[in-house]
């Protein structure tokens, strides 16, 4: 039992950490116990073994490529730091792809591919088919003025320059009207009001028929029969 107690003290002795007041007691026990006399030497051997064992574990030099590899990795890291936009590369790629898709959709839309004959005519009046030609009006006032005349043939292709489809043979008349409105010779508002008045639907009123008066026999004989009044 006492040997177990002193074995810990032996360890402390080997580590040089035994309290001074314990030393006489330990020595007295070592004089009596042969096993404990050898214990300090064993403890010292163990601790030497431990220290040298751990030293051998951490001994050694890195390989000759260590410096090169470290330099290369630091260089790669520096490259990434110098080009921070690379972090945005996926976002940029997505934005570009979206832009390409939008461009394709716009290019294929009917406004630009010529599938709508009215718009195509507006872009190039010279190539317009004989059925219709276009005229352009720069002011909304003029457009309003023309809308009533052209009925359902008008279509605005752009926001800045509105186009009016004019039936065949009326292009020169429309152009003259536009120039007259622009020059002020014709009041657009008045023209529009007149057009609206013109386009008003006619009211159908029932015909009032007055009851026929039957003249006296004496009068019939005096007047002709074709002068009846309604």
């Amino acid at each position: 039992m006492s040997c177990e107690k002193y074995s810990g003290w032996m360890n402390d002795t080997a580590l040089g950490d035994l309290r001074a007041e314990r030393e006489p007691e330990l020595l007295a026990h070592a004089m009596e116990c042969a096993a404990c006399r050898e214990a300090p030497a064993h403890a010292r051997a163990v601790h030497e073994f431990v220290d040298r064992g751990v030293e051998s574990l951490v001994a050694g030099e890195p390989s000759p490529q260590f410096a090169t590899q470290l330099r290369r990795r630091i260089g790669l890291e520096a490259e990434q730091i110098r080009s921070p936009w690379t972090a945005w590369a996926p976002v940029t790629a997505c934005a570009l792809a979206l832009a390409v898709i939008l461009a394709i959709m716009v290019a294929r839309s009917p406004v630009h591919n010529g599938s709508n004959p009215n718009v195509a005519f507006a872009v190039n009046p010279i190539s317009a088919p004989p059925e219709a030609v276009s005229a352009s009006a720069e002011s909304p006032r003029n457009v309003k003025g023309m809308e009533g005349k052209r009925g359902g043939h008008t279509r605005a292709a752009t926001t800045t320059l509105e186009e009016i489809i004019v039936p065949k043979g009326q292009l020169s008349a429309a152009a003259q009207l536009i120039s007259a409105i622009n020059s002020g010779r014709v009041d657009g508002n008045q023209f529009l009001a007149a057009q609206q008045e013109y386009e008003k639907r006619l009211e159908v009123k029932p015909i009032e028929i007055a009851p026929r008066e039957i003249p006296a026999l004496d009068d019939v004989t005096d007047k002709p029969t074709g002068s009846l009044q309604f």
Binding site: V46, D51, R52, V54, L57, P62, L70
Partner: protein
């Protein structure tokens, strides 16, 4: 390894040139120290190199954040130790069966002196496993103390701990290691 620090000027990494220069100056023997710390934890040279390089990269990346530049030397050392522990955890524990087999082989061998034991490959593995079994706070002081015989004050500076704490932890670590390994040096005369 000192050539490593000398070879840095051509590959300055920090955006701030003065910081880069200061980093190079303070880099002198850190990679070697970091490598040894990593080796003390991982026991595999290739992995120790990888972890030491990673720690040096982090040190370079965060050098501008370091307030007390005089304590730079301990910084990558502690980072290396943490990274090495993370690597160990990621890999999982070593095969227990292999450990038991090694111990049985050693017990069957005739007693040898300390020199012969140290030279033995199996004993090296035993010491490594005993070291791995230590708590991290004891292990780092033990490893640092074993590197080029650093004294308590130097270990305290590197580990960022008070000197008294290092002393007590070193004592505890040695004691635990001795308890684990004393069977290997049973009846072995010192020296």
């Amino acid at each position: 390894m000192d050539a490593l620090a000398a070879s840095y000027p051509g590959s300055a990494v920090s955006q701030d040139e003065s910081l880069a220069r200061e980093f190079e100056q303070r880099l002198a023997d850190c990679p070697k120290l970091a490598y040894r710390v990593a080796l003390g934890v991982l026991h595999i040279t290739a992995e120790a190199e990888d972890v030491a390089q990673e720690a040096m990269l982090r040190a370079d990346r965060n050098f501008h954040r370091l307030r007390d530049r005089e304590r730079f030397r301990g910084w990558p050392v502690r980072a290396t130790f943490r990274l090495a522990l993370d690597r160990i955890r990621a890999k999982g524990r070593r095969d227990r069966h292999e450990h038991e087999a090694t111990r049985a082989t050693l017990n069957a061998q005739p007693a040898a002196n300390v020199e012969n034991l140290i030279a033995s490959r199996e004993v090296e593995r035993e010491v490594a496993q005993a070291l791995d079994a230590l708590p991290a706070k004891l292990r780092i002081v033990m490893v640092l103390a074993a590197i080029e015989g650093y004294n308590t004050r130097e270990v305290a500076k590197l580990a960022g701990l008070p000197e008294g704490t290092v002393k007590s932890r070193l004592f505890l670590a040695r004691k635990k290691l001795a308890e684990s390994l004393q069977c290997l040096v049973k009846n072995t005369p010192a020296g």
